[in-house]
């Protein structure tokens, strides 16, 4: 087994006595696509927020390439090479599509601009580069958010429901992009409700229920797992 990119160990986070994430451990190997599924309120987004430092974990640790990152500020974690998207879109509405990408870069602006235009072309938004992001359609904003993450060239990418609200054609492009990222050696962890997407894309799936990890394995095995079926459909 290759050295994990991300190791989460016995991570806990509760809100007012309710355990949103309860002793969750997982390890992600480089160059693979992982899925994170579970019923609503099972702690998927909270886990994302703890990994990226937006919420502070109560107990437990997170290691990125072997170095502890829990306790770091969100921007410090991002600079280590972890990028994420949000379940509810969080583009910068009064910045243009192009500015949304440029603003997250450091170093040469000319280089950043070339890269930004290339990414906008890739999601077919180059014609709208000077449009305010807030004026774009839901799906287009989602794409801007996705390519904005890529601007910093992160080695670990967390995607919170990337497929929701994106039309079929674009979705296929998006999934293809995720596969290509994987082929480039990047690691992807995605939360997704669309089971077709999860089963078609992910090599390993983690299942959360009431904040606990109840299953882990290849999609085929997960689909047949009794605890998973129970979590989704009840006993």
């Amino acid at each position: 087994m290759a050295r994990p990119v991300l190791e989460v160990e016995r991570l806990c986070k509760s809100f007012g006595g309710v355990a949103a994430v309860d002793r969750v451990s997982l390890a992600l190997e480089p160059g693979r696509i992982y899925g994170l599924i579970g019923p609503n309120g099972s702690g998927k987004t909270t886990l994302f927020n703890c990994i990226t430092g937006i919420e502070r974990r109560d107990v437990g640790s997170t290691r990125f390439n072997g170095v502890r990152i829990d306790g770091l500020k969100p921007y410090e974690i991002a600079r280590q090479g972890i990028g994420r998207t949000f379940q509810l879109i969080r583009v910068f509405p009064e910045l243009t599509a192009l500015e949304n990408l440029l603003v997250v870069t450091r170093g040469s602006l000319a280089g950043a601009e070339a890269r930004a235009l290339e990414l906008l072309r890739f999601v077919k938004l180059d014609g709208l580069k000077h449009e305010y992001a807030g004026n774009l359609s839901y799906g287009q904003q989602k794409l801007v958010e996705f390519v904005r993450v890529l601007m910093r060239d992160p080695s670990l990418i967390l995607l919170d429901e990337p497929a929701a609200g994106v039309n079929r054609t674009l979705l296929n492009d998006l999934l293809e992009a995720v596969r290509r990222l994987r082929d480039d050696g990047k690691t992807v962890l995605l939360v997704e409700h669309d089971m077709k997407v999860v089963m078609g894309l992910c090599e390993t799936v983690f299942v959360l229920d009431h904040g606990e990890k109840i299953a882990e394995g290849p999609p085929g095995v997960i689909q047949a797992d009794e605890r998973v079926i129970e979590a989704y459909f009840g006993r």
Partner: protein, 308 residues
Amino acid sequence: MTPRGTFRLGLVVLVAALAVYPAVGTGYGVRAVLQIFMWIALAASWNLISGLTGYVSFGHVAFFGAGAYTGAILITRAGWSWPTAALAGGLAACVVALVIGYPCLRLKGPYFAIAMLGLNEVLRALVSYFEGLTGGGNGISLPTLEATVPVYYAMGLAAAAVTLLTYLVITSRFGLRLMTIREDEVAAEAMGIDTARHKLYAFLLSAAGPGIVGALAARDQGYIEPISVFPLATTITMIVMVLFGGKGTVWGPVLGAVVLFVSQELVWARFPYLHQLLFGSIIVAVVLLMPRGVLGVLQQRYHLPRTI
């Protein structure tokens, strides 16, 4: 000629006209333009922190007052010349901003606004208390000096400098990062932007101008007291000017300062009691009808850059 070329030519002509104005203008006219310069510098400075990052400062006059007292004390006690004292006033305001910004910029939304309001009251109480240095409630009288025209040029320079600074910030990636704080601070952090540091830089930049013009105003008026340099009304005027002209734009604060100052002078001269009412009505009308301000509306409607 391109619109941009026309604009630049117009700007050059305007600057030249303002430069020769003291030679031909009336005493009242020169004083009025001097005041407009001061309001441009103040409004544009407020725009740097509040228009760009969305952190609404309700105590920005505190930097004006800090600069005024620093300048007045250095002139009367240490015998500094007023131009150097003015620069020291700007520096002093930045020091205050550094000390107060570090804890206060962690506060969100209304809490930051209230904290800044508190800062202003604290500074006013402090200068009233340390009588030995500040003269307390008696204030400080500066040595008599006829310097209206030099102060006119200094104020003009300050207004131009803050406007130029705004242009440089707004057209830079640094300025875009400040705007991401206004748009979505959590997302900005998650994208690797050190929001705390950026807010502090913007806050420091926004304090320097008021500090300098505070010291210039002290020299110009020849007398300062706690009530005259820390009035809440001055902060509110800065805010209204920016909201009217268009927050987050380069020329919005300039437009707001000119239009509101001129209309205030006109109304005040004729209807002394109505001018407060007019000012209040403008605030209500702007907030209700065009929360983006004049240039903000034009910018959105015609897809203009923020450099308008």
